[in-house]
């Protein structure tokens, strides 16, 4: 049980950050896709900038995980179609429901229980992908 406490703590921090940054807000997502505010671009941009720096530093310092391996990010499979088509389908849903998979859960925590319907539909969508995945271009 104790080994899970750190994951629970990271999750709490994540939830707080996404609420305080308003990244969980449907309105902020709408505004982003309208290019009417820098806010969301600033969040994603500064997250990626910091992420690149942290990964470069840990590569140089040969930082190890608590399990003793070098810190590394698993490589995504090569491909084009799955990323472009899958990504576009995701984008349609993101803009329609205003929530991606992290914020969905966080919003339930803030008391928006109708988001449970979106989560149930997302689980069903994932299931349907698993069912027809071999028929799709990847």
């Amino acid at each position: 049980m104790t080994k899970y406490i750190k994951f629970f703590a990271v999750g709490i921090f994540f939830g707080i950050v996404l609420v305080k940054s308003e990244a969980v807000s449907w309105y902020r997502i709408f505004e982003m896709f309208k290019f009417q505010s820098f806010h969301m671009y600033g969040i994603i941009g500064s997250a990626v900038f910091t992420g690149v720096l942290l990964l470069l530093i840990s590569k140089k310092q040969k930082t190890k995980t608590i399990e003793g391996q070098l810190i590394r990010v698993p490589k995504k499979d090569k491909g084009f179609k799955r990323y472009l088509i899958g990504g576009s389908i995701f984008g349609l849903g993101w803009a329609l429901s205003g929530a991606c998979p992290g914020p969905m859960y966080i919003l339930v925590g803030t008391g928006v229980f109708s988001m449970l319907i979106v989560i149930a539909a997302a689980i069903f969508g994932t299931y349907m992908y698993g069912v027809i995945k071999d028929k799709l271009p990847h």
């Binding site: 940054s21 969040i43 500064s46 799955r82 998979p101 966080i106 979106v118």
Partner: protein
């Protein structure tokens, strides 16, 4: 204390998200919220019928714990760490939403027009939430990740597939907001 209770600026929030990603890597895992949807399918027994869900979900327990924490974090932030303030949206955004029929724009996190129970159970309301959720769940697995896995982790590690996926996110999002919203609302 006021700094915490006010909305956080992007230059504080973004680096904090990178720290979340980095902490999970340091713990020997990777940041990816949408994987939990697949795990939940597997817990529900989908692996018996569909091989995509036939994996040892117990190895993914840590990620479900992150989700649980995120929900608690959402609760704490909303109830104890927030002054009631309106979202500081662009005036043009507010005007555009008013034109689409949304009222009291930005006075809560989400528009009551879509998420209040009385609207959820209209035909249009339930279709928007279920189709939106379905597309997120289907698309994220098809693309092999969502905002956390591709936009944050993938771009931070300079991976081309993630860049393509993020471009896809925006193609879909822009089509929805600029072409489909005017039909829907």
């Amino acid at each position: 204390m006021n700094y915490i209770l006010e909305p956080w600026p992007w230059y504080v929030s973004g680096p904090c998200i990178a720290i979340v990603m980095y902490l999970l890597l340091y713990f020997g895992r990777t940041f990816g919220m949408s994987s939990n949807l697949r795990t939940i399918c597997s817990i529900g027994g989908a692996g018996k019928k569909v091989s995509f869900f036939d994996f040892d979900w117990k190895a993914q327990k840590w990620n479900l714990i992150v989700v649980l924490g995120a929900m608690v974090g959402g609760f704490i932030a909303h109830h104890f760490l927030s002054n009631p303030t309106n979202i500081d949206l662009n005036q043009q955004t507010i005007a555009d939403l008013n034109n689409l029929g949304f009222k009291n724009v930005g006075t809560s996190l989400l528009p009551p027009e879509l998420f209040d129970w009385k609207n959820v159970f209209s035909i249009k309301g339930i279709l928007i939430l279920t189709i939106g959720g379905f597309l997120v769940g289907f698309g994220t697995r098809y693309a092999g990740g969502c905002t956390s896995g591709h936009a944050i982790t993938g771009l931070s590690s300079l991976q081309l597939p993630s860049l393509i996926a993020v471009i896809g996110f925006f193609i879909g999002g822009l089509i929805m907001i600029h072409f489909i919203y005017p039909i829907l609302f």
